[in-house]
């Protein structure tokens, strides 16, 4: 009977792939905090209440300097937002966070209150990858949450394939790597070998707090605190884990596939 059932189901549900990016992005839950904004100018003199509550030591305030929050290390627990007496750290609810340079994730200083989003690829790389990007995924000390929310992009709702982006089963077939996890030392060799096996030119995308800076495991002797320790990273997508929409936005933004406003 399932043949008829499935046909009926298909007819009833129609196309379930979201309209984004042509249409609106899917609604995010009301408690989704999104990227943080840090107005260091609002900090009271000498206040460093946010520094000790951060589980990943993503916030520093050196004497005489403005507070600085590293959104790459951030696991978005919002402990700093709750404790800040002057509302200098706030949640923007914005899902967009992907950047090309590590320093674009440091928030606080005037003019750098929010992340500096990635620009679109240009030139040869855009010509090569803009309409067809094949990625090999390497989890190296990941907890399976970043992996799961990357996998979600392949389901019918998101349908990553419509953008020409696909995860492949061999580094030889890939244009680059999508790396998750804090980079356990036990995966160092495998990550290096996988990278070496990808033909040049190649790119690396670090997804999640672990792959950017070690995440909750930062500083453990068993990890290398992010993909950058082993391979050059071209795109950083923060989150713990990043929402699938954050990952998709990062990929499309970088490939210049987003609708121009």
């Amino acid at each position: 009977m399932f043949v008829f059932d499935t046909i009926l189901h298909r007819a009833r549900h129609g196309c379930q792939t979201m309209a984004y990016p042509e249409g609106a992005a899917p609604a995010l839950p009301d408690r989704y905090g999104g990227a943080l904004r840090v107005d260091a100018a609002k900090c009271s003199a000498g206040c460093d209440a946010c520094v000790p509550v951060c589980p990943t030591k993503a916030i520093v305030r050196e004497p005489g300097k403005p507070v600085s929050l590293d959104l790459g290390k951030c696991i978005f627990c919002a402990a700093c937002v709750e404790i800040c007496p002057s509302k200098a750290i706030t949640q923007t609810k914005d899902h967009r966070m992907a950047v090309q340079r590590r320093e674009d994730l440091f928030l606080g200083a005037p003019g750098a209150e929010e992340v500096r989003l990635a620009a679109a690829l240009d030139g040869k790389l855009k010509k090569l990858f803009g309409r067809s990007l094949r990625l090999r995924q390497v989890s190296a000390g990941g907890c399976n949450a970043c992996e799961a929310d990357t996998n979600v992009l392949g389901t019918i709702g998101w349908d990553l394939g419509r953008f020409g982006i696909q995860f492949v089963a061999s580094p030889r077939h890939a244009d680059g790597l999508l790396v998750t996890g804090a980079i356990s030392r036990n995966m160092e060799l495998a990550l290096k070998k996988t990278y070496d096996a990808v033909p040049s030119p190649k790119i690396v995308i670090a997804v999640g707090a672990c792959a950017i800076g070690g995440g909750p495991f930062i500083g453990h002797p068993q990890v290398l605190n992010g993909a950058g320790a082993v391979v050059p990273v071209d795109l950083y997508i923060p989150g713990c884990p990043p929402h699938p929409l954050t990952i998709l936005d990062g990929l499309l933004r970088w490939l210049d596939r987003l609708e121009k406003p």
């Binding site: 696991i75 627990c77 919002a78 392949g154 019918i156 709702g157 036990n186 995966m187 495998a190 453990h220």
Partner: protein, 493 residues
Amino acid sequence: MNSACEFLLLSNGTSVPWGDVPEWPAAAFVEATAAELNRGGRLCAWFGVPENSATRLVAVIAFDADNTLAVGRSEPVTKSYPALTLRQPQAHLFEREVWEQHGLLPEGHPWLKPVRRQEVNHPAVGEFFQVSGDEIHEVAVGPVHAGIIEPGHFRFQCNGEEVLFLEIALGYQHRGVEEALPGGPHRATMSQMETVAGDTTIGHATAYTMLLEALAGTEAPLCGQWLRAIALELERLANHTGDLGALAGDVAFLPTAAACGKIRGDFLNLTALICGNRFGRGLIRPGGCKKDFEPERSAQLLKRIQVALAEVAEAAEWLWDANSVRARFEATGTVTNRQANEMGLVGVAARASGLLRDVRFDHPAGWHRFAQMPVSTWPDGDVFARARVRWLEIQRAGNFISEQLGMPPDGGIYQAPGNPEANMLAVALVEGWRGEICHVALTDEAGKFRRYKIVDPSFHNWTGLAMALRQQAISDFPLCNKSFNLSYCGFDL
């Protein structure tokens, strides 16, 4: 102490003074543990506690039928002791781990090799078991796999298509979770517990917070325990639904694969409705839950879960109706009831081999003391059984949440717990979606962690997958693997 003394009994989610735990000389302790296991006990945890330059062995045993846990320890021992594995195969990985962590040699252990130890820039996987013969060939898979999957290495000994033996080498995901805990809790501990296995955030976070509350001699407010139980079932719904879809995908049955991939996301979004994060990060904290759960939110959750449950019921029905699916699921990757028992399997894998084994039922703690859940079993031990148990549990979890949302307990959701007491041992078991999560903590003079042991259900169950592959076609490995869907990082810690 003498060899006649008995193990100390305790309930799930409680603590006992470390000094009250009975002790035996190491050899007698192994005897006593084997005797307890022989009379129906099950090994939840077996680990070492460093003491001066020696190590004490500790056993946590579950008597499921009696709803009781038992704990015992050895006197400090150095160098070696007679292996428990020779009498109880379920101890084999535990003894390898103790050997790796404390250098204690289990004399007579049949296959002593590292579990997750680092060797320069890869895990020390050691020598693999090999079958020799002209017709035999060896297949090596991993650590990096052909999809978006965590890393692990699988070594098959094959005769043609037939797998004679599979050995699984893990450790690639080792992040030093346990090593970081002595002296804690630290600033990052709660976040690390939420990411022991990220797909089991609620399960591991619940076990950890239960332990802290037990060590402090307090309990979270009932409403907080209630919300934890709801979140635990939401986590089960998301993962079981995803697994049904993935199993369908592995036999190229696309309707269910496509539908379940989407519905899994719907369940994750319900967890995000409660706390903003699809995996439940930030929801559970020592002392209860961190986010208020207003009646409007509850009503919205109830409405949306009914829709998702109806959709998953439809998608599951196609799966059971299709002869092509049954032909691939049935009699594939069979683990017999006896094998499952001897290996100490837990969770879905155990129940699919007919074992009545479920922490929510056998060792109720938290909200499960007031709202019991029937145990879902299937007798056959094959891929079909593991899929079927998931489907039964999806229905039970759906009913549980729907019922519970209608009867929230009064009171607050959070009350800061006290500090952990000094020199206490606490045990917490939680039935995560994969199976029994066991956390054991021992505090020092100052009430800080002296030793913290985590046993993810995958630690028990990876051996089950290796056994399931014997005499199977190697082409059925992905299907068998998916039917267990075990955690790499939860095992590697």
